[in-house]
Homo-oligomer: 419 residues x 2
């Protein structure tokens, strides 16, 4: 069976002037991929009739599924709906169910009861030749056209609404209506090794992979995800084969392996803490609360995350964490001595089982010959054992902050695993 091919078309001038980062395409691609569909191309075009039609024509040549996002909003530049209606030869009719849904939305959610603006009423007009997809939390419905062997699905561009429609309407429809190969993914997360070293390490493994299995390197924020994908017409043995290869991969990358599940660093730390019934706290200077934010971004984090003291100011280091004035004067705020006192201070103040502390110079200014921009000290402690180390990063402020948070979380993870 040939893998069905898909194209994603995103619409909106905001994508072409670069003020909006397109996160929709990645989400849609992930969902389609998981279903065993291959996304051949992604195209972004402006709010321009000719460009949209030309993209529809071109992508229809090689893809049997087109997913469009954007261009459905209430403002003047949103032209996708009448265009699709024309393109597929239908006419716009007011849909009573959609209209009532919009009225409810304005009354209950937007808290703007009363008569709808004409531009909002118009959102209830839909082509008479499409399947209308209910958009639970927005006013622009999705539309599915099924004509001449092409499936064309149009979704709103608001990420939350697009995601909800994909999950509740599009994915179930595809499962029911499109024949697809079986597909199995396994993802491993590594930290502390670059893409090219990893490729070198896995050269032989990759060379001897069976034809139906592929390996992808997905570098992301200082980590590299390894993704094994098995694709076959028959389900038999595919999952076992991919699992077996994932296990080999875990052994080969053991020194750098964060997890062999498809989870983030902070989710893995959450699982480890829950398993041990431990709690965690952070003391952050240069990361300004980013590590705390990441730890607390996981649902249920309140079971293990105590909190954080973000002590940008040296007085806060002394007053709230008990760092000694003498330590700050003799060694400076960015020193292994200071982060050691910070981590022990925050652990004691919060009664957490483990803690992490960071202090550094993120740039662009604040560096000295001795401690240039990118100098960062990190400490972790579990009460019995406190370890401190110094990093020398050399990126810009945002990247230094991200890298520091990642390094600190990885050190924390190792401490939890070891303890």
């Amino acid at each position: 069976m040939k893998t069905p091919q898909a194209s994603i078309i995103t619409i909106g001038d905001e994508l072409l002037i670069g003020q909006t980062i397109d996160t929709n395409s990645a989400f849609i691609a992930q969902e389609l991929n998981r279903l065993g569909l291959w996304v051949r191309r992604r195209v972004a075009v402006g709010d321009d009739r000719e460009e949209i039609i030309s993209a529809l024509r071109e992508e229809s040549k090689n893809s049997s599924l087109l997913i469009l996002t954007g261009g459905l909003g209430p403002t003047a530049d949103d032209i996708t709906k009448p265009l699709l209606c024309d393109y597929f030869g239908g006419k716009l009719v007011r849909n009573q169910a959609v209209l009532e849904h919009i009225e409810r939305l304005f009354e209950k959610v937007y808290k703007r009861p009363g008569a709808l603006l004409e531009r909002n009423q118009k959102q209830a007009d839909v082509p008479d030749n499409c399947l209308v997809l209910h958009n639970p939390s927005g006013s622009a419905p999705g539309m599915l056209f099924d004509q001449k062997g092409i499936i064309c699905i149009s979704l709103p561009g608001v990420p939350r609404e697009m995601k909800e429609l994909m999950t509740t309407a599009v994915v179930p429809w595809i499962k029911e209506n499109i024949t697809r190969p079986f597909i199995v993914h396994r993802t491993l997360l590594t930290c502390g090794i670059g893409e090219s070293m990893l490729a070198e390490l896995l050269h032989e493994f990759e060379r001897t992979l069976p034809a139906q299995i592929s390996l992808a390197y997905l570098p992301n924020y200082g980590m590299v995800k390894l993704r094994l994908t098995g694709k076959s017409e028959s389900r038999t043995g595919l999952k076992e084969q991919v699992d077996d290869l994932a296990q080999q991969l875990a052994v080969l990358t053991a020194d750098y392996l964060v997890t062999d599940q498809d989870l983030s660093m902070e989710a893995i730390i959450g699982q480890l803490l829950l398993n041990k019934n431990w709690t965690v706290a952070t003391a952050e200077s240069c990361t300004g609360g980013l590590i705390a934010h990441q730890l607390s971004s996981i649902p249920g984090a309140s079971a293990y995350f105590k909190g954080s003291v973000v002590c940008y100011d040296n007085e806060m280091k002394e007053d709230l964490l008990g760092v000694q004035k003498k330590t700050l004067q003799e060694h400076g705020a960015v020193s292994e001595q200071t982060v050691t006192e910070m981590v022990e201070g925050v652990r004691k103040r919060t009664n957490a089982n483990v803690a992490v502390a960071v202090s550094g110079i993120m740039g662009p200014s604040g560096g000295t010959p001795d401690k240039p921009v990118g100098t960062v000290c990190v400490a972790v402690s579990n009460g019995d054992k406190t370890m401190a180390t110094t990093l020398r990063l050399g990126f810009d402020r945002a990247r230094n902050t991200q890298q520091t948070a990642l390094f600190a979380l990885n050190l924390l993870r190792k401490l939890i695993v070891s303890g």
Copy 2:
């Protein structure tokens, strides 16, 4: 003069399986736009020879400038360089300057002195018919082909390297070599009003805009940016015209206007604090440090950002911020009474001039009939005046967190402006 048209082509299977969000295109589009070039289309294709060549052919038909990113790394799936070399009829030759640069990089930056891997040496092979663009912080050089009226520029896919090459090599080259119209942008940031209400408010303004001026609505994280763009063959009066319209726009949107400069909410707050010589601190429960992280992400924030107490745990609210046990018992952690004590506590503990505190239920669990998921209390204080309010959000955890941080920062901004 016709505006020169450009296409952005991003290359890599990781874009098609959705594991990487394409931030490169937005950056490149912004830079080109600022230069007065119009990005017609963005296309993402996989590591597939035929797909890349087909994208090059198609985009060359209507765009005179093509910018490619990705596919230049050291791993096996990176095929762009030999392909471009063939496509433009050149041959690969080892470039001594690039080789020496790579050797230096491995020795000094990656701290891996000694013989280069063959795959890294190969990165110094470049087509003999292109202009080599120096990549200061990476091993893959950029390439510029200028043939048959088409400029094709290939850049590495690593965002940091791409950005550096755009800024130091591509933008200066375009300024020197491509004739462009004059272009002027002015951006205003609004908060607290949706896109369609804003469009309604600005209907008449937009209808009467002169032909050479356009207005774009750019919704982003609960705010809407308004961008005026003037484009003309003559510089005369263009800036004054756009400035004048921006001023009208500021008056029309006054109730929602955060800034009439192209700055973020946290940057504006930083400027306001610096102007008053004031300091700020935060006390965060449900946002877990995000507000602190945002405030501290601005270079030079240490001049006004004292720090934060992230008190996920109720004991921390009592112990570090002095919230009374009685308040927590009678009103709960998510109450205006509690955030009021939190904000006053953190202001006193840190000696900050102003402070903000938040406590809420972000979901997916933890809601009660009385206080459902999305209930958030926010307080701000400047010592003289403390204000608390309650939000009812109803999104997912990540979005509730983002919206809370934004609302809190906007309330803080208003307090600073008023004080």
